[in-house]
Every structure is written in structure tokens, then in C-alpha cells.
């Protein structure tokens, strides 16, 4: 919610408060599940299928570090890397796909032929507990993929400040 304008109790807040309880009930923190996903299986993400266009991926070399449990889905630290890729131009691009975000194609990193280290660090938004897929396109066209699952914690207190 935006703070700038009202900073004062507004009529709309009442309806929000009414809805807040229901929201909290529906979004209780899921149990801290063990690895419930198969790391060698891609989740169903139409935007990713479109990118792959039937091409097969290998679950090797791609590195995707995300916390098992994220403090807040608004900002989740992420590291990408491709093992053994040290030659200039070894990797053409890295695609990042989300299973649950409204925009499933989260990011594409394009590398020119001069790049020889493909480690990327950033912070991503994750709309709820889900799997994230990183796919590197190597110079020879090989696709290296990694799937990570992140449990996104919901804030204990609702905030409409």
C-alpha cells in the first residue's frame, strides 16, 4: 500500500481490515516441508515451454542459489552461475522462469562473446512458495537447467501503513 497520500485512516481501510483476517487465515505459513520437488523435473511454465520449443535440457552445470525459506517474497537474494564456463563466450544467455509469478519470464541475461565469467547476483520477487528455473544456453546450443524451490514466508503482521 502506498503511504504517501493518506497517512490518515481512510474509509477504504475498513474494508481492507475486514478482508485482512480472511487473508491471514488463507495464507498461514505452510509447514516447513522437506524437498517436495524432483530437481530433475521442470515445473509446468508455459512461457518456459515456449522458450524451449521442445528442446531438452540437462540438469548439469547450472547453478541457482536461492534460500530454502525466504524472509519476504518482495526481495529474495539470488545467485546464478555456470560451472566450468570460463572461456569467453561459453554462455550465450541465462533465462530465469517463475512457476507462480504473474510474469513468469523473470529475467534474461544476454552475454556477448567477450564475457568469461557468468556469475550473477541479484534480488528477485517471488509471489509465494514456488519453484524457480534457471536455464543457461551454452555456445554449442546445450541447455543447462537448475530448479530451486523457495518457501516464501508471509509477514506475521499485516501492514497497511
Amino acid at each position: 500500500m502506498n503511504i504517501r497520500k493518506p497517512l490518515l485512516a481512510s474509509p477504504a481501510r475498513r474494508t481492507l481490515l475486514a478482508g485482512a483476517g480472511a487473508f491471514a487465515a488463507a495464507h498461514g505459513l505452510p509447514a516447513l516441508a522437506q524437498a517436495t520437488f524432483n530437481p530433475k523435473e521442470l515445473p509446468s511454465i508455459p512461457a518456459m515451454d515456449e522458450f524451449l520449443a521442445g528442446r531438452k535440457v540437462q540438469f548439469v552445470r547450472m547453478q541457482l542459489d536461492l534460500p530454502r525459506v525466504a524472509d519476504n517474497g518482495n526481495s529474495v537474494p539470488m545467485k546464478l552461475g555456470v560451472l566450468g564456463a570460463t572461456a569467453p563466450g561459453a554462455v550465450q544467455s541465462i533465462h530465469l522462469f517463475s512457476e507462480k509469478n504473474p510474469v513468469p519470464r523473470m529475467a534474461v541475461f544476454h552475454f556477448p562473446a567477450t564475457t568469461s565469467r557468468f556469475d550473477i547476483e541479484s534480488r528477485v520477487r517471488l509471489a509465494g512458495t514456488q519453484r524457480v528455473v534457471a536455464i543457461a544456453t551454452l555456445a554449442d546450443g546445450t541447455l543447462c537447467a537448475k530448479v530451486a524451490e523457495v518457501l516464501v514466508a508471509i509477514a506475521a503482521c499485516l501492514d497497511g501503513s
Binding site: A12, S75, M106, V108, F109, P112, E121, S122, R125
Partner: protein, 106 residues
């Protein structure tokens, strides 16, 4: 007023990789939020960010609302000549931004 911070090593070694960091002040507004009176806040997300090293493109990123607000990006480049590491980015409101830093090469 600058809307980004760029961090480079004090001096890079020619032929070796050095890390580039950029932090951009931008709401990366998803378009799914509403303000206090229930009015939707229009989407405004950085769509594309490019980095050039002495004029040659060295990284292009297609971005989305999947990046956290005030996005941070860290990546690596190979040091050649001293010069400018320059960034350009634009958002849904059509605003274009640019920021650069100077690299020293030992």
C-alpha cells in the same frame, strides 16, 4: 539527482575478471498494488538494462517485475583498457536513465 550507485574495484588487472555492482533506486511497481484509497498504482518496471564498456555492449538484461524493488545487480567483466562502464535503462513510463563510472586498469 542520481538514481543509481555503481561499484567497481579500485583498479582492475588487464585480462582478468572484475566484479561490477549496480543498485538502482526504482520502485519496480508491479501494477498489482493499490494505494490507500484502493486506486491501482500503474505498473512501472524497468524493462531493459544494458551495460557498455568503453562503448561496447557487455551485458544486456531483460527485466520484469520479478526483480525486487530498487534492483541490485552484480556481474563480471574482463578488464581491457581503462575507461567508462556505463549503464542505460528505461521503464514503462518511457523514462530513460543513464549512469556511469570510471574503471582504472593496472
Amino acid at each position: 539527482m542520481a538514481d543509481a550507485r555503481i561499484q567497481l574495484p579500485p583498479a582492475a588487472k588487464r585480462g582478468e575478471n572484475f566484479e561490477v555492482k549496480i543498485a538502482i533506486r526504482h520502485a519496480m511497481e508491479t501494477g498489482y498494488r493499490v494505494d490507500d484509497v484502493g486506486k491501482p498504482i500503474p505498473r512501472n518496471v524497468i524493462r531493459e538494462l544494458t551495460c557498455k564498456y568503453n562503448g561496447a555492449e557487455v551485458l544486456k538484461v531483460d527485466m520484469s517485475s520479478g526483480f525486487a524493488a530498487n534492483p541490485l545487480l552484480q556481474f563480471w567483466l574482463v578488464a581491457q583498457d581503462a575507461g567508462d562502464i556505463s549503464f542505460e535503462w528505461s521503464d514503462d513510463l518511457g523514462k530513460k536513465y543513464a549512469e556511469k563510472a570510471t574503471l582504472s586498469v593496472a
